[in-house]
Structures are given as C-alpha cells and as structure tokens.
Symmetry: C2
Subunit: 221 residues, 2 copies
C-alpha cells in the first residue's frame, strides 16, 4: 500500500519499460541533468541525495524495491541517485509515462498519493533538520525504522524491546540526519548510557523501550 503499485498496474508499466541493472556505487541520476526518465526499483537499495559544490551533501532518502524515482522532476533532475548495491530497475521515458497514464488513470491517482505521502515525510524531516537535537534526530530515525518494520500497520508502537538492523553506514546516516559521523556515534552512545538502546554490533540495535524513545524523538514529557 505504501509505495508499490498494484501488480496489474506494474504489468502495464513494465510493457513500456526498459529493464536495467546498475552496479553498486554508480550514480545513475545526476542532479541538473535533463530529466527524461522515470524509474521503478525492482531490486536493491538506492541513495537519493543533493550536494553542494564544496562536497557537503544531504541524503534526501533511501529508496528500495518497489519504490519510484524521478517524481520530483521538471525539465532537470532535482537530485542525484546512487546505487548502494547492485540495483535492478525499470526505466521509462516521460512521454511513454504520459501514455500509460491515459490508459491507466488509477496509476496517476496512485502517484498523486505517493507524492503526497513523500511530501508528508519531507515535512517531518524538515522539522527534524530545522529544530531537533542530535539525540532527538537519531531517536527519530530509529523510531521510523521500527514503524517501517511493523509495516504501514497500526500506528501503535511495540511496548516491548525490539531489535533492529541498521543496514546503513554511519556516514550515510549522518548525511541523512544533517549531522557528522562522530555526532551520530556519540548520540548512539548517549542513548546506550541512558539504557534506551543496546548494540550487539554496530549494525544491530535493540530498542529497550520504543515508547520512551518516542518521547525523546518528539520532545514529549
């Protein structure tokens, strides 16, 4: 429901699509390039980012299997995208896309919903970047990951401890949260000191109390 189209629509799309494989690390969308294509990721993880000329960069988001890329397009690409591993995707030109829209109006409706959803996420992230402390940012991230795990299901947080994989490097996390690697690490350390999380290793955390974490993430209490 959250980010994939129905199988039916996907089939319709794939007829107009061009399948591609992108090797790990390749930047296959370059910010500023003419935006002729629209993508659907069929396999693998992608980093979406924007960068300043001096190297500072912000990761807008991570997109995985089933998700769409290239929505925010108008003439030129507004962001870059890089394969974090080997990625398989379907690419189709904007013109064929419009064709498909005419044939499957439901698809356009769906895309509008997806766009609205992404906009909501973006607004939430802006609040985080503009106003939250480092520890709050990291807590928010952990919480979002839990919510994603428990799928789009109930907005209810588990009341028991829950273990989470952190597939993403500290560097990527830092660029996603608007922090430095060191600050991310120190924020994790602080949450650990306070008994809110425990690490098996750097890429597997246990959230001891998702609810307490949520209070930190959203400055409640």
């Amino acid at each position: 429901m959250c980010d994939a189209l129905s199988d039916e629509d996907l089939t319709a799309l794939s007829q107009a699509a061009q399948r591609m494989t992108i090797s790990a690390g390749r930047v296959f969308i370059e910010e500023g390039d003419p935006a002729n294509y629209f993508y659907n990721i069929t396999q693998g993880m992608v980093r979406v980012f924007k960068a300043l000329p001096d190297g500072r960069r912000h990761i807008t988001g991570f997109m995985g299997t089933g998700q769409f890329l290239g929505l925010a397009i108008s003439g030129h690409c507004a962001f870059s995208a890089e394969a974090m591993e080997e990625v398989h995707l379907c690419r189709f030109s904007r013109s064929t896309l419009n064709q498909v829209f005419s044939d499957f109006p439901a698809l356009e409706r769906r895309l509008l919903n997806i766009a609205a959803h992404e906009l909501t996420i973006a607004h939430e992230q802006m609040l985080l970047l503009a106003r939250k402390s480092a520890v709050e940012r990291v807590s928010s991230y952990l919480l979002n990951q839990v919510m994603r795990l428990d799928a789009c299901a109930a907005d209810k947080l588990p009341s028991t401890a829950i273990t989470l994989r952190l597939p993403i490097s500290r560097a990527d996390l830092a660029d996603y949260l608007g922090l430095t690697i060191e600050t991310v690490s120190r924020s994790f350390a602080q949450l650990k000191r306070n008994g809110l999380i425990e690490f098996s290793n750097a890429h597997a955390v246990t959230l001891m109390s998702p609810q307490k974490l949520e209070m930190i993430a959203n400055a409640k209490g």
Copy 2:
C-alpha cells in the same frame, strides 16, 4: 503556471467549494486533526508549520493567493496552517474532490505536477537545513525571493542591483530557515558589512549583486 489551476478548472472546483474567510492569526488547520478538507487560497497569506510539544517550530512554507493547501494529507493533517492576515479561501471535502477529479482528469494531472514541484522545493530546503550555514541560508532565501519576483521566467539572475520587499517578520524567517531571530539579524548584518545588500528599512533590502549572492547561497567559488 507555477501554482494556480486554469480558470476553467477553478470554476469547476468552486462549484463544489465552500467559501470562507479566516481572520488574521487564526490557526485553521491543526496538525493531527482528521483531514477532511482541501483548500485553495483566494486571497491572503498563510503560514504552514509543524511544531514540537515544547514549542519549537518549523515553518514549512508560506502560501499565498492561488495556492493549494491540504495536499499532503492522509487521514490526519500533517501540518498546521495559520492565517498571517485576513484570508479568503475555498474549502471542499475530500469526497467532493474525488468527484471533481473524475470530471476533470486534467485537474489531477495538474495536482501531481504541483506536488512534484513542492517536493523539489522541499528537497532543496532540506539541503539548506541540513548543510548550509546561517549566512548561506539567508542568502538562499533572498535569492529565492528574487526568482519568485522574476516569476517562473528564465532561470537567469538579474546582473544589476534589485530591491526586494521582505514582508515576513524576522521571527517567521528564523522559523523558516531553522535559525534564531538573532542569527538571522546577524547574517543580514554580515551581508551588509560585505557590501552584498543594503537596507532602506528592516523590510526592504537591495541586493547589490544577485550573482555574488548566489555564489554565497550555493557555495560556488
């Protein structure tokens, strides 16, 4: 082109709409409330924002005449909206909206474009919030205002000095740029010291060299 629908579509919409007047300062959309309505502003300026329980807040954007509100909606409002002055708007329920969509497919297409555009702006703002310094943020804001002035026209910056109104208070600007009032003020002061801007009064700036300002805003050179 940027944010308004065609007259024809607007007419279609207004038949299903309910006209309303909101007095200055009223919060007419409250974050978290059930999201039953969709709005089109016909007159006046609105502040769109998200807040944390302890009062920290981020202004997502300012929306004016012709713009839409309530797009990023799914069950509950993702943000609050407050009238900055007396505001006139058309309100219609989500259900009638869907009806209108069926009658005027072009409208849905248009909304998708608007959403994509807003998403682009949101990504740009995230880069600003995550990675730009105070002076860079303020410069970026000034620049965006110039671009808005010269309408959606050429992406070309004026090469001569240009005077700009700053209708927004320092407090709003701070909440929009993820800074404090004082830092916004000091950033203006620094730009002034460096000969990049001049003030007639607190709400009217002259950008002495939009192009130099753009280099600062986007860390070029």
